[in-house]
């Protein structure tokens, strides 16, 4: 049976997650130790900044789950009461559904984020390298990757950005196409402006100039970007060169006015200008928005885009859940088929044993036959056995996905005295 024991950002505080994370990291041969727990067969350990989960194949559900939970809690130094409130457990189909949802990023803090699939794949790779997984977990993980891939390609869950800084990058790409070689001007040294600047740089933007009232603070931020620091007096000159301007000062008045932009319009040779104003009160005069080739977005405009994108993701999540359900059903069918495999193998072994015993008994008179006739008798017996077994084996395979398969398996085991 598949079980999943874990905790995430919804059930445990960051302090608890940190303790568990550190505890698990300190364990030498974590997977080996988990696998050696009583009742645990195959095992996989998934650890991200938001979740720590153990997926295992166990014989006895209650006992194994308790062992895993106690092991993880002790590793993180949690009391029993703490452990009781922050751990969740899933078994069977529920566990399958959970891991598929995790891999598809439906259970993530930011739904549709793309990192989680890579983290799940890494966890599986580690388990595989340490021979901690077997047939069931291997199949489970491959199915979870397929579910995640389908969710990514068949829905738009990961298409639109859901953070203000990424929304700014997407807008910049819609204005400039490629950001290669674009020049950024940061006005003010706010954190949000810094983050947006970083995203723009990682998308190809070339140089950063930081303009601030205090030059020393501008210098500190400019150093991070290997850029240039200037005082606000040089703003006009820097606006002429810039393609993207991000403003986040605490100034009570407008820092960039429409008149200022009109003045430099000719010197800029009508180049496209993207202005991002994330300051409150605003730094850039709203009238700039009506100017030709100037695109001004303030924090509310960006937040509106983000909100709209979140709504789109929520709608897409409904489609994604349906895909996950399809994949869960597919996996559960395979698992049920797997349950009938030992019975089919036992049935064939039993039949072969009977044939071997009877052939041994008949060995005395069989030796009077010539070799060709002996082969014909062998073939005849095998053919009869195969034909007799064909019907029950087919029924076992066909009905294995059905709810009544266990009854049929039990009936076959009793009828042929397989136990």
């Amino acid at each position: 049976m598949i079980v999943l024991v874990g905790l995430n950002h919804k059930t445990a505080s960051i302090a608890v997650r940190e303790k568990i994370f550190a505890g698990c990291e300190e364990q030498k041969d974590l997977l080996g130790r988990l696998k050696s727990l009583d009742g645990v067969g195959e095992v996989l350990h998934l650890s991200t900044c938001n979740r720590i989960e153990i997926i295992a194949i166990v014989e006895e559900h209650d006992k194994a789950v308790k062992n895993i939970r106690d092991f993880v809690a002790v590793s993180g130094g949690l009391t029993e009461a703490q452990a009781a409130s922050c751990f969740y457990e899933y078994c069977g189909e529920e566990a399958v559904r959970h891991i598929f949802r995790v891999a598809s990023s439906l259970d993530s803090m930011v739904m549709g984020e793309t990192q989680i699939l890579g983290q799940v794949k890494d966890a599986y790779r580690q388990a595989l390298a340490q021979y901690a997984t077997g047939v069931v977990l291997n199949r489970l993980m491959h199915c979870s990757f397929r579910a995640a891939k389908r969710v990514r390609t068949e829905t738009a869950i990961a298409v639109n950005p859901v953070s203000v800084s990424y929304a700014a990058v997407e807008l910049a790409k819609k204005i400039f196409g490629s950001l290669d070689g674009k020049k950024i001007l940061l006005i003010g040294a706010g954190e949000m402006a810094e983050l947006t600047g970083m995203h723009l740089i990682s998308n190809g933007a070339q140089s950063v100039t930081v303009a601030n009232r205090t030059l020393a603070q501008a210098g500190l931020l400019a150093e991070k970007f290997h850029g240039e620091a200037v005082s606000l007096d040089a703003l006009d000159a820097k606006l002429i060169e810039a393609d993207i301007v991000i403003s986040s000062t605490g100034a009570p008045d407008f820092i960039v006015t429409a008149d200022m932009l009109k003045r430099i319009h000719h010197q800029r040779k009508n180049r496209l200008l993207f202005l991002i104003d994330i300051a409150v009160p605003r730094d850039i005069e709203p009238a700039a928005s009506s100017m030709e080739n100037v695109y001004l977005y303030n924090i509310d405009d960006l937040q509106d885009i983000v909100d709209e994108n979140i709504n789109v993701r929520k709608k897409e999540a409904i489609k994604a859940e349906m895909i996950v359900e399809e994949e869960v059903a597919r996996y559960v069918n395979w698992q049920k088929e797997l349950e009938s495999v030992p019975t089919i193998v036992s049935l064939r072994n039993k039949a072969e044993e009977i044939v071997r015993a009877e052939m041994d008994k008949a060995a005395g008179w069989m030796q009077n036959l010539n070799k060709e006739d002996q082969e014909k008798v062998d073939n005849l017996v095998n053919s009869i056995v195969n034909k007799v077994l064909h019907a029950p084996v087919s029924v076992l395979k066909e009905e294995s996905s059905d709810i009544s398969s266990r009854d049929i398996v039990d009936a076959v085991r009793r009828l042929f005295r397989l136990d």
């Binding site: 639109n160 929304a167 997407e170 807008l171 790409k173 819609k174 204005i175 400039f176 196409g177 490629s178 000719h266 040779k269 009508n270 180049r271 496209l272 928005s289 030709e292 080739n293 695109y295 977005y297 405009d301 509106d304 885009i305 709209e308 994108n309």
Partner: protein, 276 residues
Amino acid sequence: MTLINLENILFNIAFILCAASTAGYLLSLLVKKIKLAKISTWILSTAFCFLTVNLLFAVVNSCGLANLGSRHFLSLCAWSVSAAYLALQFKTKTRSLGAFISPFIFLFMIAAAGQDAGKTLLPENLQSWLTAAHMFLTITGESLFILASCAGAMFIIQNGLLKSKKLSKMSRLLPSLNDLDRINHICLLWGFPVLSAGVLAGMIFAEFSWQAGWLTDPKIIWTFAGWIIYGTLLHQRLAIGWRGYRMALVSCAAFVLLLLSYGSVRFCFSTLHNFI
């Protein structure tokens, strides 16, 4: 099978493929799926190949460009617009531009299909390599202007969407403003000298065969007017630094003006170019 039969079959295949690619492009705009536009680009490329072979057969059959039929002339228009668009695809990968340009290509193909396959375009006294060069270069130049205007129209739409502060599905489908401006620039930069060469070839031919009176022909006056408009546009772009929204707007207006002038001259005046 004769060469003329084969030529007709090739034209029909190209016609069907053009219709399919136009439908695909328009559908991609409607359902906002760029994949459909990509497929349509492949269909249009195939149509272009068929049309190229068709035109090669036509040139062989008519023993040169100067004796081309009316159908082939219009096919040549469709071919040159397709060629210009597909060439730009290698440079800019702006598939959705096809939704704006493919209807023009298909209209040329419909007009071509409506022409008698055997009818020769030019009267015998106008058949010369200079008129052939004049036709080919003028068509190519104006095809590039059609592309410049389509890119301009898309720029105006994308500009409106971005100014309204909404990042809609349509905005995501359309290329970036910079790419559209670049297409506009490339088309003007190449279209103007090509058109100029075409006009020059026509002038040389007119001077030698008609000698006098051709300068006052309404069609030629309008062509000069168009040539001056696009020349001014190019000058403003290169020397004054016009770009972006203003350039998009003016190139759209110039194209509308060109279409109106062509229509008015064609239907209201008697001109030396009445065969087109």
